[in-house]
Symmetry: D2
Subunit: 493 residues, 4 copies
């Protein structure tokens, strides 16, 4: 039995929880990561209690001083965490109490672990979202840079993994950019829903003490306190939302990495992934494997698994706090670390890989990529599109039988499929012309791709402003919490 351990709640119990129970229910291995936020949250809470006169000024001073010391220890990695305690919150409170005794025992006035852990987790997630956004930004940036350098490079555009129409490599890269830009948007919106303060919701119903929730929300740089205390302690929507945004982002990465895996195969040969992002085989001396791309692709499965985990855990759970909710953190932390490392490695890999432009261009010779252009040509000569499509289809079938390309047919051969064909047909068939002439908005022509760059640049600017400004805001709020004089009423505001 775990009698030796000091729990925050032992008064009512005749007998302590079994050691196995404490091992089973402990969240310390996971939530020790919250130490920093727990101390900052307590700082805000203590300052508020003193300011409101709920605790005496001198108690407030001692608590704040104690917490500052603990914060310094946490930042330097010197916090003396006791593995026998059930969570990080107990650790911080007991370290404080052992330092300043009764004063520390007053810290938990008007709050509960229920609102405390929700506050800590939201603070953690704010940083996590901003870090994720920055990692997305980096990959977007690399993609756009590589696109800018490859506007004129022609490759086969694929649908159904079949050659469809020739496109600019830049256009292909920018399609991946667009996906990431939406991811960034989703994370930014998730940030706002994360940035709400549950502190002061107490156990579930608010508190009888005269606390000031707007003040603590403000001190911790939250946009507002939550409107309902039951919701405050039980809402984990923000976690599910992070996991979804991360899952979709991981799916986007899996899509790009699937391409890189195939593009670096001997069959495609479009890309040479740098040695720095490849590994070899223990048995086959010649192997150079695109491991980074494969692992990034594979890890999308884990993100989706984390999301499913969270949604399943929340399903059918009544109000308000239930211990099932403890499981939120392991999934969230793992997903965040994975998402950021995948994004960063992807950025490094994309930045360093080499495109084989000759091979890409050569590939456009197979698969009748200019067939649509021939059909379009017939339309400009007056044939309805559906008829033009049929005529070119027949021409392609003829080519397959003859082992020829469309551009290798003679004028007579071409005219056998439609009398509308004239000499000028040969000017529309080269793949360079096919690419150049797709000038519709959002099309692949080098003439219109720059529109994507300027739109993309402004999206990037907006994103980086967002995460930089928010970071500065959080940093200065935290600094204020740590710097300001001990709380004796007025001096705090």
């Amino acid at each position: 039995m775990g009698q030796e351990r000091k729990m925050l709640w032992s008064g009512r119990f005749a007998q302590g929880a079994a050691d196995e129970t404490l091992a089973f229910t402990s969240s310390l291995a996971v939530d020790r990561r919250l130490a920093r936020y727990d101390i900052l949250g307590s700082l805000a809470h203590a300052r508020m209690l003193a300011r409101q006169g709920v605790i005496a000024p001198e108690d407030g001073e001692r608590i704040v001083d104690g917490l500052k010391k603990l914060y310094a220890q946490a930042e330097s990695g010197a916090l003396a965490i006791d593995p026998k305690l059930e969570d990080i919150h107990s650790n911080v409170e007991l370290l404080l109490t052992s330092m300043i005794e009764d004063a520390g025992a007053r810290l938990h006035t008007g709050r509960s672990r229920n609102d405390q852990v929700a506050t800590d987790l939201r603070m953690w997630q704010r940083d996590a979202v901003l870090e994720t956004m920055e990692a997305i930004y980096e990959l977007e940036h690399v993609l756009m840079e590589r696109a800018s350098d490859n506007v004129e490079v022609i490759m086969p555009g694929f649908t159904h993994v079949q050659h469809a129409q020739p496109i600019s490599l830049a256009h292909h890269l920018m399609a991946h950019f667009q996906r990431l830009a939406r991811d960034a948007e989703r994370f930014a919106q998730c940030y706002r829903r994360t940035n709400v303060s549950p502190l002061g919701s107490a156990a579930l119903a608010g508190t009888t003490f005269n606390i000031d929730r707007l003040y603590t929300a403000d001190m911790l740089a939250f946009d507002a306190p939550c409107a309902n205390s039951l919701d405050g302690v039980s809402d984990r929507d923000f976690v599910a939302e992070y996991l979804f945004a991360a899952s979709l982002c991981a799916v986007h990465l899996s899509s790009m990495c699937e391409e890189l895996v195939y593009w670096s195969s001997p069959e495609f040969g479009f890309v040479d992934i740098d040695d720095a992002h490849s590994t070899g085989s223990s048995i086959m001396p010649q192997k150079k494997n695109p491991d980074v791309a494969e692992l990034t692709r594979g890890r999308a499965g884990a993100a989706i698994g984390d999301l499913v985990n969270m949604l399943c855990t929340l399903k059918s759970l009544p109000l308000s706090y239930n211990r099932d909710l403890q499981e939120d953190k392991a999934a969230l932390f793992a997903c965040h670390d994975r998402t950021v490392s995948c994004l960063r490695l992807a950025a490094a890999m994309v930045a360093a890989m080499r495109f084989d432009k000759e091979r890409m261009l050569a590939a456009t010779r197979d698969g009748f990529l200019n067939a649509t252009d021939l059909a379009d040509y017939l339309v400009t000569k007056g044939l309805p599109f559906r008829r033009a499509h049929e005529a070119v289809g027949a021409a392609v079938r003829y080519c397959i039988e003859q082992g020829k390309r469309l551009e290798e047919l003679t004028l007579d051969e071409l005219r056998s499929f439609s009398e509308l064909v004239e000499e000028d047909v040969f000017s529309v068939l080269p793949v360079e012309r096919c690419v150049l002439r797709r000038m519709s908005v959002g099309g692949t022509s080098p003439n219109v791709i720059p529109m994507q760059f300027s739109q993309g640049m402004s999206a990037l600017r907006k994103q980086s402003e967002m995460f930089q400004n928010e970071r500065a805001r959080l940093r200065s709020a935290y600094q204020r919490l740590l710097d300001r004089g001990t709380p004796n009423g007025k001096s705090l505001v």
Copy 2:
């Protein structure tokens, strides 16, 4: 072999696809629901082609006239859909061609089914999001109404499904309101990312025809054309996002319904669900089962399943269009129908159910719900909270042994746990007082709950404005497409 069927693409094939293949690949059973949007999209495309001079004015006129007739047929359910054709797009095009021949065969100029289906689906989803938002709105409205009528009703607040502290029933209901308000916000943001026009992306690379994508986007009430044509034909983020928002909303409903299932059990007896939302048993004559609540709870599983389906399908899929994407619609349509019907039934059920206020109040007598208040009392007398917690814990243990409630202890008994207890302790122990005094922002006191109502009302107003305005905007855009004179250049703008 399927030779008799007319496919849009048969020219190149020596031999048709097998009947089994056509049955296997056909999406008609699902996408016939897109008929209306397909015709409207074609109307915009045809008007644009004529306006840009890509097709002749008289062809434009005939196409528009034909499409108007098909639209009328679709609206009246009289569209002669041929089950042997592979999708709704083929049906519409072939019906048109059979009506106006060559002119119809010109409609597909400068577009592909790839951008067409993406456009149709986004148009469908716009309506779906607005309908979902309205259904959420209705349930929120009912919850707030029931809350307003039950501010003074006291019930046990639960954590861990144990009695925690007494709360107002209104407070509990408003916690569910808060969740739905976040759902509405997520759907509104999903709407904006849905409302982007892929039309004119053509197969994947844009087109060589001089099309005007801003014009069609505008005619169809899209916010903008998409920026990259590869992304235009392959992006299904908006579908995944709808499915996630619906999953989280379904999880919220499952949580509320879990409560209603238990609350209507003999053990709880907090609620009597109306006969209108209950069914009986084939064998047990006495049974009245909360089937609506159970099915709503259970159907959250289907929503999560739909989301997983979509994310799995998208994972590792290279650019651009792949046939795997066809699977998006079945999951999306089913999820939407389910979400809306669950929300509507939940609203009706919550509106009609009866609360047993006496039973709720009686339940607050068990479980020492006022223990925190006693601890808080000791804090106001000067005891550090952590010590107060211990003292009250011991008092509770004593009560359990004695079979008493805290308020039944004598002053002497209470003082044996802390000498700080005085006569005034008895004024803090009644549950009514416990509720009343939790006046912190977001707390359960009837004094502060009205703040939630006013915040909630403004959220509701914002939501209803959003879906009503957008609906009006879509309606008038569609009307313009149908009403305006046949396209002969200038008259169109």
Copy 3:
């Protein structure tokens, strides 16, 4: 209000359920598929009731006669299903009652819809499992046939989608065979856990009537009655198990189809999928897309989604029957239909597709597929493998710089990497030799592949015996239920 509808349970209700409730809770659209099994189950139940003297012989006779008529109607599609009734069970019972009145009203003695639906569903699933096993069998058969014909065909073996070592095409095809053989095994084991009779569990607790559950189990060809009635009405493990087995099978198909999609691309060109299993493009006249392979790959997402749906629905559900369980059927039916059609189309596609053997062989020239063989050669000359690996790695790097293949190096060049190399090295480098010499058990050498065929044949034989025997057993049990004279005690056994 739905007063006009006759429900099986209306006695206790002052007021009927709302029309919307009935629409919301109705399972008829889904469970009408159970009609046949519902009638057979009722036949067994009625015969047993008569045999046990629970109902009078003449009532038994009339019920059996009535059910036989309904069975004939169901088989011919003429069953007059009333869409206003909530499920198929109500329909059958009310059709019977309208035919034979009071006698029909006695049918539900000693059973409940809870055990009835569980019985029907297990009967349905038995057939579903057998059909799935047969479809797996067909695909396995095709794979083995194609493998037998292509033992000597050499292709690059892939790891990480990079060329690894040359292998026989047959070996590759047989790897897919192995996966399917495990699938078949899982389905066969699922069948046994499905084949347990809940009939007679009644609502949840068994019944007071003197029923004979072993008799009904036997009449319906179940292996045994379930051991616990609460479990009998609430167990849906068998459904989850089907969905898992189907998900893993779908994942296997997705893997094979992923290969076929890429193998039929111009870059690989290993395979030409028959026109019968391809479709074209509405805009690109040249396109021939591997739609069947793509849809089969994509539909694995739906299977996984169905599985998640079911597991989520079951999670946290208390004993015994809860209405949430109704949701089992939609997922199960859809998953079954999809699994079987995917398997069948895959079999047809694999049977008809053409391998480009020259292209496959040519592909083995790139990527140093014989590097391991060179290392192995050095080992046989006495070099430790790890050193041999290093030496060959260096040789490969040299080749890449020189643009040569290993077999194109001179003896001197080769000896510069290891002095152990001698003239006989050139006999180990041809890819044909590499394949031939991998004669370890389970290896790719044409000398050992036939072992896989004989093992595979015996697995196939075992599978087909299983599904054919079980089918015969079910068929004869059902026939007995329909044929045997009306139940007057002895004549029934």
Copy 4:
């Protein structure tokens, strides 16, 4: 750059992988858990190589000696694992090589990490399955014990969380037993599919060396070598199957724990969970929360998430080994640890909790639990069941209006619903009688419940034999590998 690190494959690379790449791709943090199995597998491989004459006897001796030393270090926790190496396999090989140089460098002859890791993982999973089966066994055992002691305890049986019919508590507990018995069966079948040896599949295609795969399979206690080497290195079905069996088992636990959470609420009060398996609140001094039950319920979400992770990762993955597969272990290890600890805590909790028999019995007074018995009574008097159901439904409605129980009605009142009622009706209405008379097979009557115990005992016996026998078999095989003299040909067999 990571030049300083010695990789097993660096020969071919001009430049090492980046440090970030090695951190990103390293599996050491996870797979160090495989050390023991990796060494055992190498022992078998080395003995076989020597026996087959592939390596010299003296090299074999030195390798075996070296591996024995490493095994002893691994068992005592003293293995000097180098965190800079990418996986446990590199660590073991390099430790060996540093000990015995060239001899160690010969160990990797005829195998690859691809088959090595698959072998290690299957060996690990064998132990994992057996441990899981033992933990299931323990919980089953506890359930049956508690059931045996509570056969006569009467409680309300629930459907739809409404009172349905009275049942024996033992019957309820045995329903959970049945679920676990199926779980055990699924794990046992998963064990057989796990127990197949991939060793000797080498990279993907087998090897040119004269290895003996049957010998190594036998030495490692595998049932057989796998039949196809491509399948051998890429098959992860067994992992998915473990995760599914664990997910369904976790769902079963979630169901039982959901009940315990509610049963220990003040409203139900059926159960008092021991202090040893409860924890308290940081703010509410009176709280005793069923945390173990809640966490076990919640952790089912994680199991389902792990399963989804694995299925998603496998989906669309071509043959043969791809690096995505590395992700299998983290999910599997976590799921196993969680499953076993949840099962063990559940067993301890169920063993220690106290049932409140009076409260359970008292609960049977509400909800007309004997209504079915009254209907059955009318049937025995000759009324068709459907009519009897209606009559009793009306009686229940009358009782609700009158605030009475069925057994409180007078004979006249009862007769007003059916004239068939006679004086003997009162003997069928007591709940004790209702329970006693449900004697159908699998029913709740104390007269038939013992059948469940004897069936259950024989299932338990079979399970424990399985895991004990297999454990003994593995243990003696491993001992043989460690004990037997150094390999000099004959002495090995």
